[in-house]
Amino acid sequence: MSTTTARPTAGHGARVPAGAAPGPLRGEAPGRKQAAWLLAAVVVLVLLAAASLAVGARDVPLATVWQALTGFDPGNGNHAVVQARIPRTVLGLLAGAALGLAGAAMQGVARNPLADPGIIGVNAGAALAVVTGIYVFGITRFAGYVWFAFAGAAAAAVVVYLVASLGREGATPVKLALAGAALSAGLSSLMNIILVSSQDTLDRFRFWQVGGVAGRDWSVLLPGLPFLAAGALVVLLAGRTLNGLALGEDIARGLGQRVGLSRAVIALGIVLLCGTATALAGPIGFVGLVVPHAVRFLTGPDYRWILPFSLIAAPALLLGADIFGRVVLLPGEVPAGIMTALLGAPVFVWLIRRGKGAGL
């Protein structure tokens, strides 16, 4: 089978997918429309980042935000408020970008429209590891949770993917979702044994569990940066490979790709990205799922556009959710992870009802 479907290789090995996949890309000035949209998305993201510094329990005028960034005055209360909002804004940008990239790449590499860190068990793995860290090693700060969360997330992702990809059809959406749900349920039971017997652990853990960008300072953020950079580099360079994989394993192989190797490398990048994002911000669901799908309406099926668009649009969604969560329940806050779940679930349901995606 793999040899007979490989005919297209001959002429256009270099620009394979754009021609093979029907979509808005066809017959237009290559990329001009996409570039314009991408620029617009960047502008929106910058505006949201500014709003994230300005909006909250104490609103600060944008002009003052600018002053605080350019010439910080320690005596000015407004400046202090802005200063305090910088880490959460940066974290929103980083975690959002990581989740968006990871989601897009995951959907491509698994040929699976539902791949998402929350659904494939990454969150449960990270949660169990964090609880273990709190209970066994007495860790009390977000900066300490990071390493546990990262290890747990990576281990869970690997197990779920391995279990789901056994069998002839590979990792179909249902198998992946079920393996993820099943492993999550099992890991949560183990976690609950600890939580039921230790109220202190529960008291710390419940604030990590909601997932959000508030309350983390630079000591949490900085250790994550190298992982995020490495993962982003791997995934952003993989656009063409993902285009090949999206056509199916046999065709990709016919096009001269080393399917197994490229899958493994991209999967490593994905685990770096969503593992680190979960480690830094706690479990944040649906961002990695929803954004790549929404982005496809603008970009068509070409991963060389889907990836950069996800990189910009996902942090915009996460920042937007965080800002909205700050004002919706004043004087309290709804963590960003909760807002994304509430906003994302309807989109998820809509995707299922539409039922057109690969394997659905």
């Binding site: 197990v159 079920l178 709804v334 679930a345 009802r353």
Partner: protein
């Protein structure tokens, strides 16, 4: 395996349930002899003299706990087997497809926001389970019309919708946990894991009434279910009204899972594991065997949680669902691996 052999093994399962039932009532951290047990029960019913201490422990703690454990095990076992057969998916069960999280979210809202306890929490859980089940069914059915005639697509959509909604409800639960006082949060956590610690006779009575309606309904639907297993088209060809039969099955299975969850919280994995284990024991898919295996799992896990776990964990009585979860997870992964290998 012959029919009589399967019947013999089902009878053995029933005997094991009875044995384990008495073991949980009589043995454990407080031991009661069999004659004492009968004296206590007959005196309780006839109003005779009580045995100091023992009467209270048996009648107010051990017996209701074990009775409820047996009943929810039966209900979860039946519900799981119904779902798995109906969706032709060995991995579908009320916990995986989101019904339990509906019950949990409603119960947590009742406890944290409205300060409810006891029966009100059970009522909220029941309502939440039914509401989420209706929502998931509506979602999966709405899509069916457009993508008609694609084999088991509706079943898959049901599973996927359940997984997505469960994730969103989980976020709600996590958020409410951070808003609650830590003691309330700890109580909520125990409920969320499924626990028999607050078993009492009122609850047992309501559960009994519900099962008295639902178990005969399961017996009535068993025939069409067996034909549905052949596939929707084949079943329609054999004269089964597929949509009606499917709806009836969904309603009964959801009701079973919902009443069990309302009585003791979402005891994880019981519904999921009962069917496959029963199949391994009797050699075919069998509703009675699944019900018995469900009861066995809950009784064994609760015996461990109430009597053995405190020895290991400085006196913490674990919620029964934590034990079923911790034991069920490895089995489940193994099941996933073998199920996926099989279709390779």
């Amino acid at each position: 395996m012959t029919t009589s052999e399967a019947g013999r093994r089902t009878a053995l399962l029933a005997a094991a349930v009875v044995l384990l039932f008495f073991a949980s009532v009589l043995l454990g951290s407080y031991t009661v002899t069999l004659p004492d047990f009968f004296t206590i029960v007959t005196n309780h019913l006839t109003g005779g003299p009580k045995i100091p201490g023992a009467s209270f422990i048996v009648m107010e703690d051990k017996l209701p706990r074990t009775v409820i454990g047996t009943m929810i095990g039966t209900a979860f076992g039946l519900a799981g087997a119904l779902f798995q057969t109906m969706l032709r998916n060995p991995l579908a069960s009320p916990d995986v497809i989101g019904i339990s999280s509906g019950a949990s979210a409603a119960a947590v809202v009742a406890i944290v926001v409205f300060g409810a306890s006891g029966g009100a929490v059970s009522g909220a859980a029941l309502a939440g389970a039914l509401a989420v089940a209706a929502l998931i069914y509506g979602i999966s059915r709405g899509g069916e019309r457009r993508g008609a005639g694609r084999g088991n697509a509706a079943g898959n959509r049901l599973v996927l919708a359940g997984v997505g909604i469960a994730a969103a409800l989980q976020a709600v639960i996590s958020f409410l946990l951070t808003r609650a006082d830590i003691r309330t949060a700890a109580d909520v956590l125990v409920w969320l894991n499924g626990s028999l610690n607050s078993a009492n006779w009122d609850r047992a009575g309501i559960l009994f009434l519900a099962l008295a309606v639902l178990v005969p309904a399961v017996a009535a639907i068993a025939g069409p279910l067996r034909i549905l297993e052949l596939g929707d088209d084949a079943a329609a060809g054999l004269g089964v009204r597929v949509p009606a039969a499917r709806l009836a099955l969904v309603v009964i299975a959801v009701a079973l899972a919902a009443v069990a969850t309302a009585s003791a919280g979402p005891v994880s994995f019981v519904a999921f594991l009962a069917g496959p284990i029963a199949r391994r024991i009797t050699g075919r898919s069998s509703l009675p065997a699944s019900a018995l295996v469900g009861a066995l799992i809950v009784l064994a896990a609760d015996y461990f949680a109430a009597n053995l776990a405190p020895l290991l964990l400085d006196g913490t009585v674990l919620p029964v669902g934590v034990v079923t979860g911790a034991l069920g997870a490895p089995f489940l992964l193994w099941l996933l691996v073998t199920a996926n290998r099989k279709d390779a």
